[in-house]
């Protein structure tokens, strides 16, 4: 028995020592470029491409998955506590101004990066710059947004599935009201134009992305865009042009594969993240199409990448970003995932915007998104109050959906009161 105990102790000690040696060995190995990301695997293909074309790159890429909702919090906590931080930072457009305000993003226009802002599309630097005006991030894609539609339902209820004819049919927002009411009546209430008021609100909100939520005095100034949106939402609700689904809910995703709605305000990434995973049958049949919505194409979403100011692998991280987001070669890899580079040079080659996707049949969807829609996108603005304003807007939209008696005026008053409660020290106009 004693001998067994001795052997067991020896084996346990040995395994402990070996595991420690393994860890020590790993620590002494290749350099690591750490990326905190909520989009796991987004860089898989690009990574392979990078290492295939950079045989001298002696480092490893490591992804740490962080939920997008918690990302900013984790950055704040990690930085404030002196804990681990990523080398590559991500910034979502909804809260990136708050992230930039942390002062942890390196100025990419300075040494050793020397990024030249004239190489990217003109509207991009304004949304990738910090409060001092330095470019601190590189946008991963243009994110052109348009109106996706289901061809079979469009044929049945709108009489055509031709994108040009549909574009002509919906020239103004009032057209959605007129046609939407007819669709609702014709289908006995089973089909609506849009899945929910949240879709309509988001589209209208993004079309006004050039109006900053914060004015020059540091006050929140949103009444100019909130009021008309709420007034339209009331009309949209009363005309039954939208269903009652909450945007981003499980049902809302599943709804892409159902026959309840015709129009789906979508961004370029909606194709790979919402349409194709949720409507495989429709996509296999090429049942989707896209046209420019009333009010014009717009930008929706957006993620930029930057470098942590205290990173020890800045050169490696920058080399990677430069290749995948600022090179023609990398742009081809990103295109495969419906991410369209903001690098001007890539668009010199007409072949870059050519191509179809099975889900959109024979429509030249890439050309449509990158040439037709992208040219209509208004410049965007960001502010540290963006997430607070959008939170109140989401809540009011859900309320307008739920309460059919809630008027636009009452909703506006609720909105202003709610927003003011969250920031009592700031003037809300």
């Amino acid at each position: 028995m004693k001998a067994i105990k001795k052997i067991l102790s020896f084996v346990l000690c040995l395994s402990l020592c070996l595991s420690m040696l393994t860890v020590a060995g790993a620590e002494g190995g290749k350099k690591k470029v750490v990326l905190w990301t909520w989009a796991s695997g987004q860089f898989d293909a690009v990574q392979k491409g990078y290492f295939a074309t950079h045989p001298d790159a002696d480092w490893e890429f490591e992804e740490v998955i962080i939920d997008a909702d918690d990302y900013l919090t984790k950055l704040q906590q990690g930085y404030a506590s002196g804990g681990d931080m990523p080398d590559l930072l991500m910034g979502e457009i909804g809260w990136r101004a708050s992230s930039f305000a942390l002062g942890i993003w390196d100025n990419l226009e300075a040494e050793p990066y020397n990024f030249d802002r004239s190489t990217v599309l003109d509207y991009v630097p304004s949304v990738t710059s910090d409060a001092e005006g330095h470019v601190v991030g590189i946008e991963n894609s243009q994110n052109p947004a348009f109106m996706a539609y289901k061809r079979d339902l469009a044929r049945e209820y709108l009489g055509t599935d031709d994108p040009k004819e549909l574009e002509a049919m919906f020239q103004t927002y009032d057209d959605y009201l007129t046609v939407g009411a007819q669709v609702y009546e014709k289908s006995n209430g089973t089909v609506t134009l849009f899945p929910g008021l949240g879709d309509v609100m988001t589209m209208m909100w993004m079309q006004r992305r050039d109006q900053c939520n914060m004015n020059a005095d540091g006050d929140i100034e949103v009444s100019g865009k909130v009021k008309p949106i709420l007034e339209y939402l009331q009309k949209a609700r009363d005309a039954h042009i939208a269903g009652n689904l909450t945007i981003w809910s499980t049902q809302w995703y599943a709804n892409y594969g159902q026959q309840n709605n015709i129009l789906f305000p979508s961004a370029s990434w909606s194709v790979t993240f919402q349409i194709e995973p949720n409507d495989p049958e429709g996509c296999a049949a090429g049942n989707w199409g896209g046209f420019s919505p009333a009010g014009g194409g717009y930008g929706w979403g957006g993620t930029c990448y930057g470098i942590y100011k205290n990173s020890e692998v800045k050169d490696e991280a920058w080399d990677f970003i430069k290749w995948c987001l600022l090179s023609v070669e990398g742009a081809q890899y990103m295109k495969g995932a419906s991410f369209f580079t903001t690098l001007k040079e890539a668009y010199d080659d007409p072949a870059y915007t050519e191509g179809t996707r099975e889900s959109f049949g024979d429509q030249q969807i890439y050309h449509f998104m990158m040439e037709d829609i992208a040219s209509e996108i208004p410049s965007a603005t960001i502010s540290i109050y963006d997430s607070l304003v959008v939170d109140s807007m989401n809540m009011i939209t859900e309320m307008m959906t739920a309460d059919e008696s809630l008027s636009a005026d009452a909703a506006y008053d609720y909105f202003m009161e709610d927003l003011q409660m969250k920031v009592p020290d700031v003037t809300v106009k």
Binding site: Y79, A101, S249, N394, E398, M421
Partner: protein, 298 residues
């Protein structure tokens, strides 16, 4: 002085100092600063400014306090009654007692995320089981938007709290019931008391210490309500903090949102946390005083 007790106690003492006392004292210090994410490396001292604002000029804080109290008042009595009734019923069950006990206790150990999703699906506006059942039995002809209106959403959250906690209260009451001498019931029976009289005259008074414990702990837990409320709305896909019209925004949810989510004001968030501590301490003190006074009178 003997050193061995200190050596054996040192792991606990060190852990307590590092992971309990230090964070608490540090949070108290932070609550007197204007530390924000926008100026993360500086913690300017602002004295009682945060506290003054919370108690005099922060309607959202008081809305959150009101919501928390409302949810607690809706859920607590039901949870206590359900727990007590189940415990009494358990006493009379012979077959399958352990299985029923386990089933009733399970919700208490299920993770709040799962509970949130479960209730979100059950109370879904379009395809929820509850609406389907209500329409089928004819109680309503139109689906009710349980999670989307400020009138109904608190009810769902309160039901969730009841469902989650009554099993735990049942176990506590069962422990209390096992300490009541059976000869009391036998004597009552001899005197001609029926079951209801025995319950109200013997069981309930004898369970008073358990009820005091359950009420005080329930109130403290209720004031700290957060994840259940948050998860049910997240499960329903809503992005709105605090549910429809902030009707389910609890104090801890408000603290979390202020400190780490939309506002990132650490100093103010810490002040909210300590304000809640003051409220919990005051409510607990009142609870103990009132319940003990009643006990003295008996």
């Amino acid at each position: 002085m003997a050193k061995w007790p200190w050596i054996f106690l040192s792991p606990f003492i060190l852990s307590y100092l590092c992971f309990m006392l230090y964070p608490t004292v540090y949070s108290l210090f932070v609550s007197f600063t204007g530390w924000t994410a926008a100026n993360i490396l500086e913690k300017p001292y602002v004295g009682f400014k945060n506290y003054i604002r919370i108690f005099t000029a922060d309607p959202l804080f008081w809305k959150a306090v009101g919501n928390t109290a409302k949810l607690m008042l809706m859920a607590m009595p039901l949870t206590i009654i359900a727990g007590l009734l189940m415990a009494v019923l358990m006493q009379n069950i012979r077959k399958g007692k352990q299985m029923i006990q386990t089933i009733n206790f399970l919700p208490y150990v299920i993770t709040p995320i799962a509970i949130g999703l479960l209730f979100a699906f059950m109370f879904d506006w379009n395809v929820g089981l509850v609406n389907t059942a209500l329409v089928k039995i004819g109680l309503t002809d139109k689906n009710i938007n349980w999670l989307g209106t400020p009138q109904h959403a608190p009810t769902v959250v309160a039901l969730m709290i009841v469902w989650k906690n009554f099993g735990y209260f049942m176990v506590l009451y069962m422990a209390g019931l096992s300490t009541i001498p059976s000869d009391l019931y036998e004597a009552a029976k001899v005197d001609g008391a029926n079951a209801a009289q025995s319950f109200f005259k013997i069981t309930l008074p004898m369970l008073r210490p358990i009820t005091v414990f359950v009420v005080i702990n329930g109130v403290i837990g209720g004031l700290q309500l957060f994840d259940e409320a948050q998860q049910v709305f997240m499960g329903a896909g809503s992005n709105a903090v605090g549910g429809p019209m902030r009707s389910c925004l609890t104090v801890i949810w408000y603290f979390y949102d202020t400190s780490f989510k939309n506002n990132s004001r650490y100093g103010y968030g810490a002040a909210i946390a300590f304000s809640l501590f003051i409220i919990i301490a005051a409510v607990s003190l009142i609870n103990v005083r009132v319940l003990n006074r009643k006990e003295d009178r008996l």
